[in-house]
């Protein structure tokens, strides 16, 4: 299985992760539900992670994979804090619809 890139080609992986990333963006813009938006962000993170691994294999360098570890750690921290914030918001306004979060209005 060493030659997976030889057989499939790096460009296919690029297309895959690009489309995956765009799906994440689409989700963030499309949905009003904050938790689903979180999920979209996770999809985007995974798209980037996937591309990192692809290029790590391509360059045969472990640093890319190490970077994925860190990115996972950050993602985990982000989810933990973000969800805690969402819980706080929900406690206050009994909804996590972002259309109802208009306190940023200038």
């Amino acid at each position: 299985m060493q030659n997976v890139l030889q057989e499939i080609g790096v460009d296919n992986y690029i297309y895959l992760s690009t489309i995956l990333f765009c799906i994440g963006i689409f989700g963030v813009l499309f949905r009003r539900n904050a938790i689903v938006m979180f999920m979209s962000i996770e999809i985007m993170l995974n798209a980037v992670n996937l591309l990192l691994v692809v290029f790590s294999t391509y360059h045969q360098d472990a640093a890319g994979q190490v970077f994925v570890f860190f990115s996972m750690a950050v993602a985990a921290a982000e989810v933990a804090v973000g969800l805690a914030i969402l819980v706080g918001i929900y406690r206050n306004i009994h909804s996590i619809d972002i259309d109802k979060l208009k306190n940023l209005k200038g």
Binding site: Q2, C22, F30, E42, V66, V79, A80, I85
Partner: protein
């Protein structure tokens, strides 16, 4: 054989990602997202990055998804309560989807000629042993960022606890 597996996996990844976004019920979204994460783990396995795949499954499919599901349950959101979206939102979302897609693909395609042909050196670069060395080597490794990552996790854990704690009524 590998090509077939790649296409099946990719199709699954994209389909479940779309379904995650398009399903109205958050619980269903979460379940589709789990499948999406598993397929990405499959991609990692295809690259022979077993350790990464395992960690990915543990962190994402395990920890993060459990967190998300718990939150959904906690807020009692397991119903299709999303109101009708405005047409403008849909247009904006589709437009930016297309735009970003176009821009990123164009950027990659433009840089494609720079990428040289793939070659196999045959040397081991992604076994757990090597990864551990790269990660924790004192001189050239990522020792310090690794320690900071642990501090980050600790801090976020404390922050999450504090944030989600019920506010006490403070008597003045």
């Amino acid at each position: 054989m590998l090509t077939t597996v790649f296409y099946i996996l990719s199709a699954l990844t994209l389909a479940t990602a779309f379904l995650t976004i398009l399903t109205k019920n958050p619980i269903h979204s979460a379940i589709y997202l789990v499948i999406c994460f598993f397929t990405i783990a499959g991609h990692y396995l295809m690259f022979n990055a077993q350790f990464l795949a395992v960690v990915h499954i543990i962190v994402y499919s395990g920890a993060i998804m459990i967190l998300l599901l718990f939150t959904i349950m906690l807020m009692n959101l397991n119903k299709e309560d999303e109101p009708n979206k405005r047409g403008l939102t849909i247009i904006a979302a589709v437009a930016s989807f297309c735009l970003v897609c176009f821009v990123l693909l164009a950027a990659f395609l433009k840089s494609m000629p720079i990428i040289e042909e793939y070659y196999v050196s045959g040397e081991d670069y992604q076994s757990i042993k090597i990864l551990g060395q790269v990660l924790l080597d004192e001189k050239e490794g990522f020792m310090v960022p690794f320690e900071f990552a642990s501090v980050l996790l600790l801090v976020s854990m404390i922050g999450a606890v504090l944030l989600s704690k019920k506010e006490e009524k403070i008597s003045v």
